[in-house]
């Protein structure tokens, strides 16, 4: 019977510091953990006493990859707390900006962090010589995504012009038209991306899982929505604690989240499983080509779902550009703080899944309490559940193989560890 003793110190090609520990003796799994060893950063405490106008600027610094996602979610929490409804123009620009970040983050994860595993190399750097077309394509898509965000909010990491109730700077129609042309050109890059990733031999592994994502009746939800589960439950975002249910596990290093089962998954695969009917037809065709069909229970397919979402984001970004060109972009007055504080929750589907920010704001406009729940924190219990289910299936293939598969599994979730450790949800026990 097989025995393995694995400790991967600092899993590479993921955001942040995590260790994988697997011990099995005579075919029996004794230990199987993803330890989070990132330094805590205390963002929630840092927000206390700061003016509400700073919250989105401070919390965007939680994450260099999903800075726009944090800023948007933060603004939605503040706006809900203060009873502010953003204008249609603000809504459109935020969604367009969000598509930019989604494209950037997914291009980074699919091409630069995951693809090297399938080419048998340690990073994207050797691929710059052996597969230059793919690498220049990834860089071209990332540049488009970055330029899109820069036109709307100054820069992708960390956004500048996004503020409570609107923007401090607006793009010109000429800029939007130029971006639209580049987005149309990017369709070819999307086709080639689908063609590349459909050929990859995804590891075969299935485990029945509950998937959770925001949903709306009209569209593939990214900003706002109703929390929706493939197990059939749904609730409003201000009831988020009903879903996240933080709990301390005696055997585990991190505090975990569970809804109806011991764990659930958020992220691109969860969004696909909950909302695939709202994908743009081109993205639905891409999903089909990639072998994705709801409900897909192979976590490695999270990367494929990201590819389908890239196609969707390009198409929806083109649609928004067209709408902006027709309606024009006008300076708008922004709400003035009326001395009434309050509490509110904001929620968005950021690249790695559902993100919640919850603030209380006092009558002096300063933040009196803050809570943030991060996608990776919600996924930790599910990653470990996958690890526990997968290891016995591959134990006889030797330590190196188990080690590689565990790293690939963790990577498939696209974890954002330095995000997740700032918060209550990840507690060591």
């Amino acid at each position: 019977m097989a025995s393995v003793n694995i400790e991967v110190h600092h899993v590479t090609r993921v955001e942040g510091h995590g260790n994988v520990v697997v011990n099995a003796r005579n075919g029996v799994l004794e230990e199987c953990r993803l330890d989070i060893v990132e330094t805590p950063r205390f963002f929630e405490a840092m927000l206390l006493g700061r003016p509400y106008t700073e919250a989105s600027h401070i919390t965007s610094r939680i994450c260099g990859i999903c800075a726009v996602g944090h800023a948007t979610t933060s603004l939605r929490a503040t706006e809900n707390a203060l009873g502010i409804t953003p204008s249609e123009q603000t809504r459109l620009l935020r969604q367009l900006n969000f598509h930019g970040e989604m494209l950037d983050s997914h291009a980074l994860h699919t091409y630069m962090l995951v693809a090297p595993d399938f080419f048998g190399v340690g990073s994207v750097i050797p691929l710059a010589r052996s597969a230059p077309d793919a690498v220049t394509r990834a860089l071209r898509v990332k540049k488009l995504a970055g330029d899109l965000c820069a036109a709307i909010c100054g820069r992708h990491t960390h956004p500048i012009a996004m503020t409570v109730g609107g923007f401090t700077h607006l793009p010109t129609i000429a800029e939007i038209k130029a971006l639209r042309d580049r987005l149309v050109d990017a369709r070819r890059d999307m086709d080639e991306t689908v063609a590349l990733f459909r050929r990859l031999p995804w590891p075969r592994f299935e485990r029945e899982t509950e998937y959770v994502a925001l949903a709306t009746p009209e569209q593939y939800a990214f900003i706002d929505g109703t929390i929706t589960s493939t197990d059939g439950a749904s609730c409003q975002v201000d009831e988020y604690r009903k879903v996240t249910n933080e709990r301390i596990m005696e055997h585990s290093s991190a505090k975990h989240c569970g809804h109806r089962r011991d764990s659930y998954m958020v992220g691109a695969l969860a969004r696909f499983n909950v909302n695939s009917r709202h994908l743009h037809p081109r993205a639905r065709a891409a999903a089909e080509e990639l072998g994705l069909r709801p409900i897909c229970t192979n976590p490695f397919m999270n990367t494929a779902a990201q590819v389908a979402e890239m196609v969707h984001c390009v198409e929806d970004a083109i649609r928004i550009c067209d709408e902006l060109v027709v309606r024009g972009i006008k300076p708008e007055s922004r709400p003035v703080f009326d001395g009434k504080g309050g509490g509110g929750v904001g929620s968005c589907e950021v690249p790695r899944g559902t993100l919640f920010h919850h603030y209380e704001i006092g009558e002096d406009g300063r933040i009196t309490s803050a809570n943030c729940i991060i996608p990776t924190g919600q996924n930790l219990a599910n990653i470990e559940a996958d690890m526990r289910a997968m290891v016995p299936q591959i134990l006889d293939q030797g330590e190196e193989k188990v080690k590689m598969m565990m790293e690939m599994l963790v990577r498939a979730y696209d974890p954002c560890i330095s995000c997740s450790t700032h918060f209550l949800d990840v507690r060591f026990v």
Partner: protein, 250 residues
């Protein structure tokens, strides 16, 4: 021979390392100029024979110091990458509150499980040879610093205030629009990007070496603002520096 380069991070969002990756969009030939031997976020290989270390993040717990000292011992040149490494950055906001209350607020009764101490920049622990300021770093500046290092020159980081660049951009002064801006005392080099996009400078590049405090106070008085108004904003990235020089705070 191409210099061997490694990237490391401590407490940070890793956005500066991502900016390094993003700089390949326009400067893919960087990969021909240096040999990257370690970069955990982007590659699996972990080479330890580097000459130049780029370090992102601030130091927030004692156990991080040994790792940083080890990097310092190996590297001939250690570059602080971004505001967290250079200044302490947003991580130092927590230094403004009592540390135990901060830990209890986030981790409740389990606070003692989380080792942490007052946030500090890299140069509070080891000698730093060069720094690339900003939150995040500016891509063009990164390229300039790398070029200078390759030629054995000191990297060209401006030591004049942001207002110089803001004026060249012909921006309307944020103070004249009723805003608050740290531009008059903050180190230039970002092209005044925040004021250009309608938001006051947050001071992420740190104070200029000799800030003109009298002039800053005049600007504030002229716009009926108090020192507190601007200090609150300055603590977003410079809490460590402001605490380290209390006599200059007023």
């Amino acid at each position: 021979m191409r210099p061997k380069v490694a990237f490391f991070d401590f407490t940070s969002c890793e956005g500066c390392q991502l900016t390094v990756v993003d700089s390949l969009q326009t400067h893919l030939d960087l990969l021909d100029a240096v040999e990257i031997v370690q970069f955990r976020e982007a590659m699996s290989e972990k080479g330890d024979d580097y000459a130049v270390a780029f370090v992102e993040g601030s130091i927030t717990r004692e156990s991080d110091e040994a790792r940083l000292r080890q990097i310092r011992e190996q590297a001939s040149v250690l570059v602080a990458l971004g505001a967290c490494a250079h200044l302490g950055g947003v991580n130092a906001i927590k230094n403004l509150s009592e540390l135990d209350s901060v830990r209890r607020y986030v981790y409740g009764e389990k606070a003692e499980w989380f080792a942490t101490y007052a946030t500090r920049p890299l140069d509070a622990v080891v000698k730093v040879d060069a720094f690339i300021p900003g939150c995040p770093i500016d891509r063009r500046e990164l390229i300039e610093v790398v070029k200078a290092l390759l030629m054995g020159r000191k990297p060209p980081i401006p030591d004049y205030p942001l207002c110089v660049e803001c004026k060249l951009k012909e921006n309307v002064c944020l103070y004249d629009k009723g805003g608050v801006c740290n531009g008059p005392v903050t180190r230039a080099g970002c092209g005044a990007i925040c004021p250009t996009y309608g938001d006051g400078c947050e001071g992420c590049r740190g104070l200029v070496p000799t800030p003109n405090r009298d002039s800053m106070q005049n600007v504030l008085a002229e716009h009926k603002l108090t020192v507190d108004d601007v200090m609150a904003r300055m603590t977003m990235f410079n809490a460590y520096q402001l605490q380290a020089m209390p006599e200059q705070k007023k």
